[in-house]
């Protein structure tokens, strides 16, 4: 089981209130999609869950019944929460394999997770195991970022815009991976600009705006999409 619960979460970056009272429950074994316009606070929400938010966080974050609000990122990682951050943030100067093995530090049980498992899921990583990670293509880097998170054998996977900058074909592969992981029992929080596709995959979808959750489920998403369409945000990022 891996239930993650936020209650009355607030985050401030100096004068900017990025989250203004977020209540959210992520149920075990489901995909929760979080969509909304730029600057809504989606990444901030994931960073706060992972313990790596640069802002001032208040409120409660409860994981499997334990209050983890004050835990360090490395401790939360070992508890089973893994973040695939916005922009991937792979270690560009390490080899592909080192990017995976370094994440062994995040295993609670210290058991060897074999990189082979990751290579089975993402064969291209196996082909380029000794290549410097910064030389990979965008899609390969995204696979590496997900593979790196999986090395920690998380029970909750937080994905921040995994489709960003990828070709439609690769995006579909990434989404398929997300569904597969859910089917294997993982709990997933998916932040996406690609709102329509995210809502299709997800078990539950929330719309975030101005640091608050504005709606839940199909109706809210439809409204969000309609608004996106009519206000023509000119957001180049939704098209990928």
């Amino acid at each position: 089981m891996s239930r993650l619960e936020l209650s009355d979460l607030h985050v401030r970056y100096g004068a900017v209130a990025a989250l203004r009272g977020v209540d959210l429950v992520v149920e075990s074994g489901t995909i929760l999609a979080l969509i909304g316009p730029n600057g809504a606070g989606k990444s901030t929400t994931l960073l706060a869950m992972a313990g790596a938010c640069e802002g001032k966080v208040s409120g409660r974050i409860v994981f499997n019944g334990n209050d983890i609000s004050l835990h360090s990122p490395e401790k939360r990682t070992r508890a089973g929460i893994a973040l695939v951050p916005e922009g991937r943030r792979i270690f560009t100067k390490l080899s592909v394999e080192q990017n995976l093995t370094v994440a062994r530090a995040g295993r609670a049980d210290r058991a060897e997770v074999e990189v082979e498992e990751i290579y089975e899921r993402f064969p291209v990583l196996g082909d380029f195991a000794s290549r410097q990670a910064g030389l990979l293509s965008g899609g390969q880097q995204q696979q590496l970022a997900i593979g790196r998170a999986l090395m920690m054998r998380p029970t909750v996977l937080l994905l921040d815009e995994p489709s960003l900058g990828l070709s439609p074909k690769i995006v579909e592969e990434v989404f398929q991976t997300v569904v597969t992981l859910r089917d294997e029992g993982m709990t997933i929080v998916l932040v996406e600009q690609n709102a329509k596709r995210a809502a299709e995959l997800a078990d539950v979808t929330y719309v975030m705006r101005h640091g608050k959750l504005e709606g839940k489920g199909a109706t809210a998403v439809t409204e969000e999409l309609a608004q996106a369409f009519f206000s023509a945000r000119g957001d180049e990022r939704t098209s990928s």
Partner: protein, 293 residues
């Protein structure tokens, strides 16, 4: 044969400078601290060596290296750990404070006078190979620098903690997010810099035969310049910068006419300014610099 001799001296001085530079770079890379106190780590280790005059020299050397590690680690645990994530200005001021503290300690215990030592005096003799005459200390410096650089390369590339350290140097927060323990990786970075300071301190006294509490200042200035030339935050850059600076120093010393030689350093640092005007990011800059939490 003088050309070969000069090349050997250049490599030796370059190797020494790259040890100094790496000590600064490894801490800057992981902790974001421009550690001005590094020069006093060097002096501290050297004083420990001198204090152990009379004990077997190998034992004294090991103790001096351990002292370098100990003072660096103690500085991390006792000072910088409490300022983690502070802005660079605060960290720099703290580094100055640590530098002054160690300097005062050394002055208090050992006095501010120059002390001389016979450590390494037998290495001042030349080794004659045919017409080639190489000073022993140059050979020893090259071997020590080579061993340290190779050992560090192995540590960083082949051991889990080394890979963690490189990951943390590239993106500290992300490293924590994959489970890297921040305290441990900081400690390792400081320990490595302390070991480098110890080795640098030993070579320093072996070369000069004298020591004062401020003996580490010149090395640390050299280290800063080498690190900036190489590209702040890049370890290979620090090594390259060290060798470039050391090699150029020796080349100028040899090539400049006698009457201009006193201006060697002025010319050297003019070259440095020229390099940084055209490549402000340094020669081998690190790929990206992320903020640290």
């Amino acid at each position: 044969m003088t050309l070969l001799q000069n090349i050997i001296t250049g490599i030796s001085v370059g190797g020494l400078y790259s040890l100094y530079a790496l000590g600064i770079a490894v801490v800057y890379g992981v902790a974001g601290i421009i550690n001005f106190a590094h020069g006093y780590f060097i002096a501290f280790a050297a004083y420990v060596l001198l204090a152990l005059a009379g004990v077997p020299v190998l034992v004294a050397i090991v103790c001096a290296l351990a002292a370098g590690i100990a003072i660096a680690v103690a500085t991390e645990r006792g000072v910088f750990r409490f300022a983690r994530g502070a802005d660079p200005g605060t960290l720099l001021v703290l580094a100055f404070a640590v530098a002054l503290a160690i300097k005062s300690l050394l002055t208090l215990v050992a006095g501010s006078d120059t002390v001389s030592t016979s450590f390494g005096s037998e290495l001042a003799k030349p080794l004659q190979i045919g017409s080639l005459s190489i000073v022993w200390i140059d050979l020893v410096t090259i071997v020590v620098a080579g061993v340290m650089l190779a050992g560090l390369a192995l540590l960083l590339n082949r051991t889990p903690v080394g890979v963690q350290l490189r990951a943390a140097a590239e993106d500290f927060t992300m490293a924590r997010l994959v489970g890297v323990r921040s305290n441990r990786v900081m400690m390792v970075a400081f320990a490595v810099s302390g070991l480098l300071a110890g080795a640098g301190g030993l070579l320093l006294v072996a070369r000069s035969g004298t020591l004062t509490p401020t003996s580490g200042l010149q090395p640390v200035l050299i280290a800063f310049v080498a690190v900036v030339i190489g590209g702040l935050g890049s370890l290979p850059g620090a090594v390259a910068g060290g060798f470039l600076l050391g090699g150029t120093t020796v080349a100028l010393q040899v090539l400049l006419p006698e009457e201009i030689r006193p201006y060697r350093d002025a010319i050297l640092y003019t070259l440095v300014i020229v390099i940084l005007t055209f490549r402000p990011q340094g020669l081998l800059p690190s790929a990206n610099e992320r903020s640290r939490v």
